[in-house]
Amino acid sequence: MIDMVIHTLVIAGLIASALMVFYFRDLLAAALAAGFFSFLISLEFYILQAPDVAISQAAIGAGLTTAIFIIAIRATTRYEGGQP
């Protein structure tokens, strides 16, 4: 029962952070929210008994993808549709 509570919480966090990615106009904040999303989905993999996938999502999704997104934001522009 209690693991369903954890499930529910993690999934609520997942959907909330995905909505934040949709909502933020500041691309850096959106990339941060995507990093947050990666963390949560990695936690969800962990709860679903897939530690291999959790490690790989933690290393690749949360670490490197955020990094290359930030490099790309640096190389292009930070705000969606020009300066706020």
Binding site: L43, A67, I73
Partner: protein, 85 residues
């Protein structure tokens, strides 16, 4: 009786969801970075506790990977914020 590990994990996940509020509100990007950094720390704690709760000793490796690597993305954000990237 419910396993205390599960309750602890539950509380930690609730805290993670609370940190989401700061991620949403945070007026500057630095606030959001702090929120993400906090979540990293809490996640590591949660992962360690979950590993014990599942009686799976090898799961702790995931927590170490988290602890070592989450910090790199924080550094990228900090470097970008400081205009040094």
């Amino acid at each position: 009786m419910i396993d205390p590990w599960y309750i602890a994990v539950c509380i930690l996940v609730i805290l993670v969801c609370l940190a989401l509020i700061r991620l949403f509100l945070g007026p500057t990007a630095a606030d959001r970075a702090v929120a993400v950094d906090t979540v990293n720390t809490l996640s590591v704690a949660a992962l360690v506790l979950l590993g014990v709760a599942y009686q799976q000793i090898i799961f702790i490796d995931v927590a170490i990977v988290y602890a070592l690597l989450s910090f790199v993305s924080t550094l990228y954000i900090a470097k970008y914020l400081g205009g040094e990237l």
